[in-house]
């Protein structure tokens, strides 16, 4: 087993080694150069770096009709109107002060101004959309915080909609996302650390956590894992997820991806770390447990017993989505005595015309369902509904009448399909849908024995799995009684007194005890 895993690792990593040894692109001697006091010299270097970049604008002008200066920015990333109004206008017209950088800074009516000293800094600032001002006789430049680019408005999260509760979702812009978090958690203890990842993309990434709640070791671990990444580009949070997870061979996700600021804030309050990636409308939460994927934000916005009941339903349908087809196959091919007689007789009758063994039938229909789901998901909404009508109604009915599949099998596949959508997190839902296929093979070859073998293998894997050091199956195994109040049941808020212990034991209590509401007792009133 160990050897096999090692070899597989080599298989997957052999290409990576070459890349590590190769010279990383984008880093060359030029960028490390300090800016000189001659604007032409600096301009030459930067222009050579930005050769053939038609969207980079170099605007020459004279400060107070005297000192040569240049304003560099990328068209489309900068608020040009404000640059004209608040930067160029005061500098070109009636600039009477001495032509030094501090004086210029005073004149520019922009609050966010930074000094830049190296060519690399200049490029960094220009890339983020901030126009950079370089002038003669100064070996520094000014980066003016007037970046503005087209971005999407805050919309309702598509993948995680709720009936009650906040409707805002993260968008692709990191700053907006951090502001959404900050708006919910106004305490200065909410820390947001930034870094850039990606040789070409230089994607801004932020680590958010609440100081005093989150375990410092966890933050350190997260930072070091992120710093290990050397990649050409990060275009979405999935890149980061796959590069920092604990077990890359597991079908189960070890980071939770959410589009909802309220979910992210709730996890922050429980001591988790949130990783925000620019360009992705979702954030990553770590550490997470298996139970996290069974919890839906809706659980917390409905009455608690409704939330509890729905959670039980979800657990039930999670089992169904994993086991239903394999159970059916196992019963039909090995354990016909396990089902009620009348059911067997009906099934036997409906299967009479079916030419395939139950296993083949199940695989056929399950594959068909997966194809339908995929086709429906990738199509525009209007066509998607047409696919589902043709798929679900026509193909389902026709496959029975044409004798390719039996009615009970179509029903099992349909229930399994619905069940897999009951899992609130799509990533887990789809993993389970894939695990269903090996389970079907096991059931088809070995019956219940195979089924149990499969379940045991999955269980062993889950028990071995860790997410940032936290056992994946906690608080069920290892059992943590205190944390059970949000696992099988969703306890009411007045009973959720303690934080889950998975991210350290500091700051254990989240609220004052004994808050069970009720009418004010008369003797307490006076």
């Amino acid at each position: 087993m160990g050897n096999w895993k090692k070899s597989l690792k080599h298989l997957l990593r052999s290409d990576r080694r070459k890349l590590v040894n190769a010279e990383l692109p984008g880093k060359n001697q030029q960028t490390e150069t300090l800016l000189s006091g001659y604007v032409n010299e600096n301009l030459q270097i930067i222009q050579s770096i930005y050769a053939d970049c038609s969207d980079v604008i170099f605007h020459d002008f004279l400060i107070g009709n005297k000192t040569k200066a240049v304003l560099i920015y990328i068209d489309g990333l900068t608020n040009v109107e404000e640059v004209d109004q608040h930067v160029l206008a005061p500098l070109q017209q009636n600039f009477t002060l001495e032509h030094t950088l501090p004086n210029i800074r005073k004149k520019i009516a922009v609050s966010s101004i930074k000094h830049v000293r190296t060519v690399a800094d200049v490029i960094e600032e220009i890339s983020s959309g901030n126009p950079v001002l370089l002038m003669n006789q100064e070996n520094q430049g000014l980066s003016i915080g007037l970046s503005r680019w087209e971005k999407r408005g805050i919309e309702e999260p598509v993948a995680e909609s709720v009936l009650r509760g906040p409707r805002e979702g993260f968008i692709e812009t990191l700053r907006t996302n951090t502001s959404l978090l900050r708006r919910k958690l106004k305490s200065p203890n909410l820390k947001i650390k930034s870094m850039n990842i990606g040789t070409y993309t230089r994607t801004p990434i932020a680590i958010a956590y609440i100081e005093g709640i989150a375990d410092p070791a966890l933050i350190e671990e997260m930072t070091s894992r992120l710093q290990r990444i050397e990649i050409d580009g990060v275009l979405a949070d999935a890149y980061i997820e796959e590069l920092i997870e604990d077990d890359p061979y597991s079908p189960f996700p070890q980071l939770l991806s959410t589009e909802r600021p309220d979910v992210a804030s709730a996890y922050l309050l429980e001591g988790h770390v949130v990783v925000l990636v620019d360009g992705a409308p979702s954030v990553l939460i770590a550490p997470v447990t298996f139970i996290s994927f069974m919890q839906s934000p809706a659980d917390y916005y409905e009455r608690y017993f409704v939330g509890t009941a729905i959670r039980w339903l979800r657990f039930l349908f999670f089992a169904i989505s994993l086991l239903a087809p394999s159970l059916y196959v196992a019963v039909l091919t090995f354990h016909q005595e396990m089902i009620p007689t009348s059911l067997l007789l009906t099934v036997a009758k409906s299967r009479e015309q079916v030419p395939f063994p139950a296993l083949v039938e199940a695989l056929l229909m399950e594959t068909m369902f997966e194809a339908l789901r995929e086709a429906g998901a990738r199509l525009p909404k209007q066509i998607g509904s047409a696919v589902s009508i043709v798929g679900a109604l026509v193909i389902g009915q026709a496959s029975i009448t044409s004798g390719i599949a039996s009615a009970p099998m179509v029903m099992v596949v349909a229930i399994t399909g619905i069940a897999s959508f009951m899992v609130p997190r799509f990533t887990v839902g789809i993993s389970v849908r894939l695990l269903r296929f090996p389970m079907m093979f096991l059931a088809g070859f070995l019956g219940f024995l195979g089924l149990i073998l499969g379940i045991i293998m999955i269980l062993i894997h889950l028990l071995n799995l860790r997410s940032f050091g936290v056992p994946y199956t906690s608080p069920l195994a290892p059992m943590k009684g205190r944390d059970m109040k949000d696992v099988l049941i969703r306890a009411p808020y007045w009973a959720l007194n303690t934080r889950p212990g998975l991210s350290g034991e500091s700051n254990k209590y989240r609220q004052a005890p004994g808050q069970q509401p009720g009418p004010t007792k008369r003797d307490e009133e006076g």
Partner: protein, 395 residues
């Protein structure tokens, strides 16, 4: 270096996949390849062979009629079931002969009813029972019956209400109005100390007008040492059930002394306890029967709200139970000498030493065992009305 390793892994992977296909001993069976048996009957042929008849569910609706015709059953028609028979020296022999006649694998997993023909029951049920308890396929929770005449005839009936004979008999046994004996219980009784068993007796109610012929439970077959020694009618069967503590539901109708009309009582719960006692050579059993009943009908002019009337009814009820029990006792002790009430176990539990000394003489002792009856019936509720609303004179 990596390419060779990669190759090795790929080769190993595909080799390991082959093992899935190479497995020779594979007990996978599709439902399409099963002959689902729902009931089985055992008879004796004229040349003393064991004849096994099975009721097979026809899964293929179009093929049903052809096969039904071949079975030659008088039920005929486009039924969902056919009956096939095969004779053999032993049960296993008969089963394999039957398998030769069927294109599909004989599947016992859903067989819920075993019927012994009268002739076979008289010769001995032990041989089929040996097979049924040993072979893993047969269900031990299936019901057993003894049929008047051939078991095959019962299987061929096509009753109106239920899907088939098996279903009719099983549901009837389940309703607990008669005995409900499974293979396991029969085997336990046969292997027990008493060496006697009871099996529900099945008769065929002949077709009347539009109603098709249907089997029904009518009394009990008494088996001793594996052979049927006699039968008891429905009335005495109730007595057996009281003694065996198997009464679950009953409606008893009594006629109180000095009144015209009847009172019907519905049994809520009952409990029977056997208390054995040995005094020298005198073996006796005290039977304590406790029951609780509700009154469901009253055609007399008694006002049942008055306690003395209900007490009177309780006495009547007690007498009725005692009569039934006595009748069953007399038949079992004097006519058949079969300890179907399992007094033997009761004695063994309380007097193991005495039992071990006397166990070989049990056949001599049993008819002499003195049975004392202590009935304690209770009328708990008299129903929604006290006195009958309509006076008997007015009727």
């Amino acid at each position: 270096m990596y390419t060779t390793k990669r190759k090795t892994i790929l080769v190993l992977f595909f080799l390991s996949i082959q093992t899935l296909l190479l497995s020779g001993c594979w007990d996978r069976t599709e439902v399409n390849d099963l002959a689902i048996i729902t009931a089985a009957g055992f008879d004796v042929t004229d040349d003393h062979k064991l004849e096994l008849s099975v009721n097979i569910f026809i899964t293929n609706p179009s093929g049903g009629e052809q096969m039904g015709g071949m079975s030659g059953g008088d039920g005929g028609g486009a039924g969902q079931f056919i009956v096939r028979s095969a004779a053999g020296l032993t049960m296993a022999d008969a089963v394999s002969k039957l398998q030769q006649m069927l294109p599909r694998k004989v599947f016992w997993g859903h067989n819920e009813v075993f019927i012994f023909g009268e002739r076979l029951a008289k010769q001995g049920v032990d041989e089929p029972i040996e097979y049924l308890t040993r072979h893993p396929d047969a269900r031990e929770r299936a019901n057993v019956f003894v049929s008047k005449g051939l078991a095959k005839d019962v299987l061929q009936l096509q009753p109106s209400i239920e899907r088939n004979t098996a279903e009719v008999l099983r549901e009837m046994a389940k309703s607990q109005t008669g005995l409900n004996i499974t293979v396991k219980e029969l085997a336990q009784m046969l292997a027990g100390k008493a060496n006697a068993a009871v099996i529900p007796w099945v008769e065929i109610e002949q077709a009347q007008g539009t109603q098709k012929a249907t089997p029904f439970i009518n009394g009990t077959a008494i088996v001793k040492n594996g052979k049927m020694v006699g039968r008891m009618n429905d009335y005495t069967t109730r007595g057996i059930m009281w003694l065996r503590n198997e009464v679950k539901s009953a409606t008893v109708t009594v006629s109180p002394k000095g009144t015209k009309g009847y009172v019907s009582l519905y049994l809520i719960k009952s409990h029977t306890e056997l208390v054995p006692h040995i005094d020298g050579d005198n073996w006796s059993v005290t039977v304590k029967i406790e029951t609780q009943d509700d009154i469901v009908e009253n055609t007399t002019d008694l006002n049942l709200m008055e306690p003395e009337h209900t007490q009177e009814l309780e006495t009547e009820l007690g007498t009725d139970i005692e009569n039934r029990v006595k009748k069953a006792l007399t038949k079992a002790q004097e006519e058949m000498n079969a300890d179907i009430f399992n007094f033997a176990d009761a004695f063994y539990r309380k007097y193991p030493k005495e039992w071990n000394q006397a166990k070989d003489r049990w056949d001599e002792i049993f008819p002499e065992v003195e049975v004392k009856l202590e009935t304690n019936p209770k009328v708990t509720r008299v129903g929604l009305t006290g006195k009958s609303l309509i006076k008997p004179e007015q009727r």
